[in-house]
């Protein structure tokens, strides 16, 4: 995208019918570090890459618990993401107080989208510079939504946002048809593999990756570092050996598919 005379104001249309400020906001999402979501019939997994500005600092929090049944992963301007998470938490609490029942995630997502749309139609505001992957459960099952700075929202089986998310999306496109019937463990494994796809040569370890789970009978929670490291170890080990290790019976098919990206990873050992 190049600078042009229609991109100063969010309330200015271009002759081609585009709102450039909104599109620039979506660019900000692409610059953030990757966040990935995938769901089955009963569970939704969120995973993200933790980027710290320097070795001395801690990494930014990108996954937020919104309620027992809803969580969100963000990419882009994390400050905007924090503010929107607070709004979502507020909405959930208020609904729960009046109706003693959890706010259906589909409705929360629409409220969020309407809030984002307002910022695309006021001259004194700017669009939120953050994309949100909303994972939640409601009466009709497990859901994963993507909320865009433009005010649009979409439901996904699996999705990835942020920098180098295309690599993760390619992997997910190959595998998504199986997700509806996947077990919780298989979903987490697929999430970790997707995160690995977005890393350029960096070794996948729990210090750079955060994973969160929500499911039927399982409140939204972020997995602690040890658990994540154990999961990484359990599948990476299998990946390096040719014969499939006795990890999970139905993981045999997984290994042959996972071994293809292995060769590519080994060929580009750039350390960042």
């Amino acid at each position: 995208m190049f600078r042009n005379q229609y991109d100063t104001d969010v309330t200015t249309w271009s002759p081609a019918g585009r709102l450039f400020q909104v599109e620039y906001a979506m660019e900000a999402v692409k610059q953030g570090s990757a966040a990935i979501g995938l769901r089955s019939k009963t569970h939704v997994i969120l995973a993200c890459v933790n980027k710290a500005s320097s070795e001395l600092s801690s990494h930014q929090k990108k996954i937020f618990k919104v309620d027992d049944h809803i969580g969100v992963a963000i990419a882009g301007l994390t400050a905007d993401g924090r503010v929107l998470s607070r709004y979502m938490r507020n909405e959930c609490i208020n609904y729960n107080f009046t109706y003693e029942s959890p706010l259906p995630v589909g409705r929360l997502v629409v409220q969020l989208a309407d809030k984002a749309q307002v910022c695309t139609q006021r001259s004194w505001k700017r669009p939120y510079g953050v994309g949100l992957l909303v994972a939640g459960l409601d009466e009709s099952g497990a859901h994963l939504y993507y909320n865009c700075p433009s005010g649009n929202y979409f439901e996904y089986q699996a999705f990835a946002i942020g920098s180098r998310s295309q690599a993760a999306k390619t992997y997910l496109e190959r595998r998504f048809e199986n997700f509806m019937g996947s077990s919780r463990e298989d979903l987490i494994k697929d999430a970790l593999i997707s995160v690995r796809e977005t890393l350029q040569g960096e070794k996948l370890k729990s210090s750079i990756c955060t994973v969160a789970v929500v499911g039927v009978g399982e409140a939204f929670h972020i997995l602690d570092q040890e658990t994540v490291q154990q999961l990484i170890d359990s599948f990476e080990l299998v990946r390096e050996d040719e014969p499939p290790a006795p990890e999970a019976g139905d993981a045999v098919a997984d290994q042959s598919e996972a071994s293809a990206p292995v060769a590519e990873e080994g060929a580009a050992p750039m350390d960042i």
Binding site: F97, T98, Y99, E100, S101, P104, G106, R107, V110, D138, E139, S140
Partner: protein, 242 residues
Amino acid sequence: MEQKPFSRGLLSSEADSQRTLYPYVTGTSVVALKYKDGILMAADMGGSYGSTLRYKTVERMKSIGKHSLLGASGELSDFQEILRYLDELILYDNMWDDGNSLGPKEVHSYLTRVMYNRRNKFNPLWNSLVLGGVKNGQKYLGMVSMIGVNFEDDHVATGFGNHLARPILREEWHENLSFEDGVKLLEKCMRVLLYRDRSAVNKLQIAKITDEGVTVSQPYSLKTFWGFSAFSNPTAGAEGSW
């Protein structure tokens, strides 16, 4: 009569003439119980104007959305107001047009909030509400009073029903009553209320709600027996002089 603006003090947020101070047209007890397939609720069709049994075809039970049934005793105009609130609530719920809908638990919670808020403003909705329903096979039966007290139970009653019907229900209610047994039990309670509650009328409806929906019966009357020997010669023991 002049209203001095500061004389109202802390007691209300609006002029006194607009607060509910006492009820005018009232309905009497509502009795409800859980049975095998859902909820059964009974209420008579009387609307009393003080001690006059003035209106005799008042429907005091209404279905709310797809999953709930609301019965009310107390001020009938406040009941109609509550129905308007719930109408709007269900309308907005339907407008989302997604796979979710408000169930009886949510409606009960909402009503509790409304009743309690009005009580806090010293302008109560003068009703005792019974909310029953079934959603996804889960049965729900609860009550809200005019001061916002709310609870859930297997059988509830309002007004006189609390004193006359609940003891019967405590004795004879059990899990998984059949439809016929449930109706017989309700009729037993309503008959006692008819004999003993001055504001009861002999025209009642029984409503049932199951996973399939709500059915409200046509109005009918209970058989009563007045042939006691003591009634045949009422002045028998009253002769005398003083």
